[in-house]
Symmetry: C2
Subunit: 316 residues, 2 copies
């Protein structure tokens, strides 16, 4: 028995909705994501602004985070200031709570920490306005999803990020999907400086939306954050300091010479290929998955990332 | 700053909907889950049938799985036969795919395996009818959720399991929520014997519902399955056999003398305390989370498990 066939959901790819010509051939298996991506054009991929791209080096590898300054501009600026001051170097992953979040920051900036050893924030601000939502900007691209959402009037993608909006209030916000990077804070909403961040590693905790600022998302390296032993203390804190993963360094792409910069490209969420991938996941079927879901929820959609292709860039 | 305050979502607990007397006090912080559970009665907890309770011993600890024989009776029987034949002992966790599943079984029963070393299934069947859905049984308790669902006409809890149903077809099925244990198979729907199982470790892949049989769910020990290094090969398979976690043993609770059996209790999903917890997660607010979601999705609801209390049982 070929157990490998089991359940590679991302291989579920077709374009039945966007490509009516294919809809006539519903008996045919849906093209795979790999097949759809192979047909993408160079213009459908974007290179994130190096001012928004952060490399977090862990002992096991690299985590790449893209900031979302159009949603959380003050937090993006503050996180850049922290990174440029090498604030995160030799700090640690301080908690991993199963089916919830992995959080990193200063272990001393905590109830059990040594307050006298708290690392100063350098040129960064200690407090910031919350930035939980922003005004809807009609000039920015918005790619809505067709199946609705339990938690918000509309969901879709804005500038490459899973997002929600409420036309009645005119507000828009980033959602707590898998891989979202949020800003930890104390009870006071102003205390989220970006000096401690968390990434969602489980079922999307959408009830956090609009209660915490989402500063960006992980583009690469999620397994390095999600595949860690869970902390045994309440909320996933580690019992012993030695159990924490030490962060080797955190750098901004813009501060690395372009030729040394590990580059990557992200599929545009307003591209035809992305639309085809979404429809494939909604309606895909093949010999293994015979029953298409017919629906897709916001946080079940992957946003493809790749290394730059030779034709698209000369930096690699 | 008390970073511990960050985001303990499970502490979000109130009973604004079910207890109108409390609704009048909306300014007060919502009681925590711990506070609500402390008020639960012994009758609100159930002890799973030892014929349905499986202990999987891994080097790092124990995973406890509850089978769902009312949904997948033939698979439950076959898994019991496999366990009683010690089929799983010294087999392995063969793949961990990020944001998807952890799967275990016979490493040789795979494309890259040594077919000559495939372990025989003993008294268990090699093939079974799929059991993806069952007829709705009006005699069994059904606890519906109030906020709808994207993938099914109705969702809720049946006998302690997250489930969905379609009154139009009269069918009901277990959903692929975090911790769901599914039956791996080959392309042929009859090839899912239960000799290879998977647990959901990420955003609920609801598009798998009704395409694969869900045989039960993990009651305890999810971190031992979710906190593993992800495999580097496609679909999360490990590159080297040495990277696999070896399963020490798998036993049925019924085969262990009651006095030696690690017992546990599960909160009944048709109990008032469970309803209060669900409402708390829907509408909870406190000094940290000031904006209640007002909604809850099926796969975001935790089902509490505890060690038996002295007053409730004498087995511990």
């Amino acid at each position: 028995m070929l157990r490998r066939h089991l359940i590679n959901a991302f291989a579920l790819t077709s374009a039945l909705l966007t490509l009516p010509a294919i809809a006539a051939e519903q008996g045919k298996p849906t093209p795979t994501a790999k097949e759809l991506l192979a047909k993408s054009t160079a213009a459908e991929w974007r290179t994130p602004d190096p001012e928004n791209l952060i490399y977090m080096q862990l002992p096991q590898g690299r985590v790449v985070i893209e900031l979302a300054p159009d949603f959380t501009p003050l937090h993006a600026a503050n996180i850049r200031a922290l990174v440029r001051g090498h604030y995160f170097d030799k700090l640690a992953i301080i908690r991993v709570q199963d089916n919830f979040v992995t959080q990193w920051g200063d272990p001393n900036d905590d109830e059990s920490g040594d307050k006298s050893k708290i690392r100063p924030l350098g040129k960064a601000h200690k407090t910031l306005p919350p930035e939980y939502t922003r005004a809807i900007d009609a000039k920015l691209p918005w790619t809505p999803l067709p199946d609705g959402d339990m938690y918000a009037p509309e969901v879709g993608f804005s500038e490459g990020f899973p997002a929600a909006r409420d036309p009645a209030t005119g507000r828009e916000w980033l959602t707590h999907c898998y891989g979202a990077v949020g800003v930890a804070r104390d009870v006071d909403p102003q205390t989220g400086s970006g000096s401690s961040l968390y990434a969602v590693i489980g079922q999307a905790p959408r009830r956090l939306d609009r209660n915490l600022a989402v500063a960006g998302r992980v583009l690469e390296g999620m397994p390095l954050l999600s595949g860690l032993p869970r902390g045994a203390e309440p909320m996933g804190f580690y019992t012993k300091p030695a159990q924490r993963v030490t962060i080797e360094s955190v750098r901004l792409a813009a501060d690395i010479p372009a030729k040394d910069r590990p580059a990557l490209e992200v599929l545009r969420t307003d591209s035809p290929t992305f639309a085809a991938l979404v429809d494939a996941k909604r309606n895909g079927h093949n010999a293994f998955y015979t029953l298409p879901a017919g629906k897709i929820d916001l946080c079940s959609i992957d946003i493809p990332v790749r290394e730059p292709q030779p034709a698209a860039t000369t930096s690699h």
